[in-house]
């Protein structure tokens, strides 16, 4: 199977007539959440070509046609990208519908999706050569080109750093401090705050590993699970060459308490900030003590 290329899916090739204007379908476009953010995505430059809300086919949302099913929306627009804005109990059906219609990139915004449903969708997407980002994510942004998600525009600026984050607001905060220090972003991916992610940290690193237009990676993590530990091992095993700087939220959080995100919980040493930091140290990845410290660490790392 061909390697998944998120840039090609989101932006297309330079020769494409719709380069950087690839059609996107928004599932749940008529809901209050979906409509607010569809408006903001359009304003940012995203080509929101269609929306889907079962039972509302034939209507339009501020000039964007609405369909009953993903199959119809994909047939009409040729879209390969979908943004899911439906409430969690409807997520599984919406995602399966999108994959069956041939969607290649699913950006799953809803919080509170059962882990079982996420796993079903991730596995199904894999079997079809498709990819999910999220759920429980702020989305994906290519600054100054497009965004599929709920992030504000202001913190981001086009550039050469990739930002991967398990937290939404911290992605904004860290990107904003990078922007203010002259580090623009080539891409920002919200990994998501859930235990199971459609695109995990290692897979996100794979997406930028060979890209000449990405010169550094910032990874915003938090307590819970072992994604950071696995990533550190990946950086060592594959001699990942680009400078990497990390931040980990939740050092002071008590054990066995879920800190807002479903995935942010420490059991014993499993998922603890110390475990993550010590593994990063082995991989030569500096860990910022606070979000605002990230740009300075990146500057140092880039000089070496």
């Amino acid at each position: 199977m061909e390697k998944f290329d998120i840039f090609k899916t989101l932006e297309g090739d330079k020769n494409d007539g719709d380069y950087k204007k690839k059609p996107v379908v928004i599932q749940g476009i008529t809901g209050s959440f979906g409509s607010t953010h569809s408006r903001l995505m359009k304003a940012y430059g995203t080509n929101v070509a269609a929306g889907v809300t079962p039972g509302k086919g034939g209507q339009d949302f501020e000039g964007t046609p609405v369909y009953n099913t993903m199959a119809e929306a994909v047939k009409a627009t040729g879209a390969q990208i979908s943004g899911i804005f439906v409430p969690a109990p409807f997520f599984l059906k919406a995602a399966m519908d999108a994959l069956d219609a041939g969607i290649k990139l699913l950006v799953a915004i809803p919080e509170h999706v059962p882990i079982r449903d996420s796993i079903k969708v991730v596995d199904y997407a894999r079997s079809k050569g498709a990819r999910m980002v999220g759920p429980n994510t702020a989305g994906v942004i290519i600054p100054e080109v497009m965004k599929i998600g709920i992030m504000p525009a202001q913190p981001f600026k086009a550039g050469r750093t990739a930002v991967f984050s398990r937290s939404g607001t911290l992605m904004y905060e860290v990107s904003f401090s990078l922007t203010n220090r002259g580090f623009g972003q080539r891409i920002g991916i919200g990994i998501g705050g859930d235990p199971v992610n459609g695109t995990n940290l290692i897979e996100a690193f794979e997406l930028v590993r060979d890209r000449p237009d990405v010169d550094s990676v910032v990874v915003v993590g938090e307590i819970g699970g072992d994604a950071e530990e696995q990533l550190a091992q990946y950086i060592i095993d594959t001699s990942f060459a680009k400078p990497v700087v990390a931040y980990i939220a939740g050092r002071a959080a008590p054990k066995e308490k879920r800190m807002g995100h479903a995935g942010a919980i420490v059991y014993g040493n499993y998922g603890s900030a110390e475990s993550k930091a010590s593994n990063y140290a082995k991989a030569g990845v500096p860990v910022a003590k606070r979000p605002a410290e990230v740009p300075a660490l990146l500057e140092q790392k880039m000089k070496k």
């Binding site: 398990r166 939220a249 800190m259 606070r290």
Partner: protein
């Protein structure tokens, strides 16, 4: 949702996993009845969601009838790590030949269950060297894999059969109830090789609860948590005196770290989510006002598109309506910050340019 031991054992029982004879008692009358049914000697086990019950003295043996009342009275009022028990489980004493460890936990990276078993039961599994770990698909454990695991544990004869049966039942339960963890520590092997679950630690995926009405009765939510949930907030009560509010779990966690670095102690974690409106902030302050041990409120809000004057208004309303009286220290990145500073002049709230300044001021204020 972490189930109490007795709740986990009820699920075990439904799936045909053997458990000791037991009875839940909430008062001494129920305890006396339970003791009659089970017989003495028995064990009293405090029903708590926090770990380390044994070390904390929350599990007591009752060897004679006159020990029952004083020991029960001791346990029912005994707080462990800030938590009072929700009942005491009376349980028969079991003559044990050997103990095992068995659990299934949802492996995030591999997107399946991992079965962990060890021939040493009753120990911290993290520090155990002799453990067997195998991947188990969500739809259940293959009997051959279970048998291989039994052999690796050094089990023989009847114990192999009993282990295979137990592990298959546990994996069926975990899968059907959408558990993140189903742990039996220890499993008791009896003289005849049969097995008994002496403890139960079961954690259910909260987000799957909408399709598990049968588990609804196990839910235990305080009035405060209920109120927070209705408003769409994530709330975690902590032991310190500074309440931390913000828009995003990661941001609030990060603020908690910085407060700890500055020598302060967080008393509450509240993520009010994406909507930073006057109403939301006001509701959040209302929730916080009900936590008695809060001496200061720290607001950290990052949005880019947030009008800080909306937040300032919420704070003024909360003071005006006597919802809060403690000082508020706020860092809000957004528009109209000059106007907001003016609005808050003369109140007990102050806006700061950076989160560090707000934290330093909040920590200093609660130390006075």
């Amino acid at each position: 949702m972490r189930l109490l031991e007795y709740q986990g054992k009820e699920l075990f029982d439904q799936y045909g996993i053997r458990i000791p004879r037991s009875q839940l008692a909430n008062n001494i009358v129920e305890a006396r009845e339970g003791a009659k049914k089970i017989g003495i000697p028995l064990v009293l086990k405090s029903q708590l969601t926090v770990g380390g019950r044994g070390k904390a003295g929350a599990i007591l043996k009752v060897k004679s009838e006159d020990e029952l009342e004083p020991k029960f009275a001791d346990l029912i009022h005994k707080e462990v790590k800030g938590e009072l028990p929700r009942g005491i489980l009376l349980e028969e004493m079991t003559p044990i030949k050997q103990e095992l460890y068995l659990s299934l936990f949802l492996n995030r990276g591999k997107r399946c269950y991992s079965l962990i078993a060890s021939a040493e039961g009753g120990v911290e599994i993290e520090t155990s060297d002799n453990k067997v770990v195998v991947d188990v698909p969500l739809d259940g454990l293959n009997p051959q894999v279970a048998e291989d695991t039994a052999q690796k544990l050094g089990l023989t004869g009847n114990a192999v059969v009993a282990f295979v049966d137990l592990a298959i039942k546990l994996s069926k339960m975990a899968g059907e109830k959408e558990a993140e963890l189903a742990e039996i520590n220890p499993v008791a092997i009896l003289g005849d090789g049969s097995m008994l679950a002496l403890d139960a630690k079961v954690i259910i995926d909260d987000n799957s609860m909408f399709r598990h009405p049968e588990l609804k009765e196990y839910e235990h939510v305080s009035e405060l948590e209920k109120q927070a949930e209705v408003s769409g907030f994530s709330l975690v009560e902590l032991e310190g005196n500074i309440a931390i509010l913000g828009n995003g779990a990661g941001l609030v966690m990060s603020t908690l770290d910085l407060v700890a670095d500055a020598g302060g102690k967080a008393g509450a974690f509240l993520d009010f989510g994406g909507k930073a409106t006057t109403e939301t902030i006001y509701e959040a302050l209302k929730v916080i006002s009900q936590i008695k041990h809060i001496d200061a409120i720290l607001v950290n809000l990052f949005g880019g598109i947030v009008k800080t004057s909306l937040v300032a208004q919420a704070i003024l309303d909360a003071y005006g309506n006597n919802v809060i009286s403690v000082p508020v220290f706020a860092r809000i990145s957004g528009a109209e910050s000059e106007k907001s500073k003016e609005m808050l002049q003369g109140s007990r709230a102050k806006l700061y340019g950076t989160v560090d300044e707000a934290i330093v001021a909040a920590v200093a204020a609660v130390k006075k």
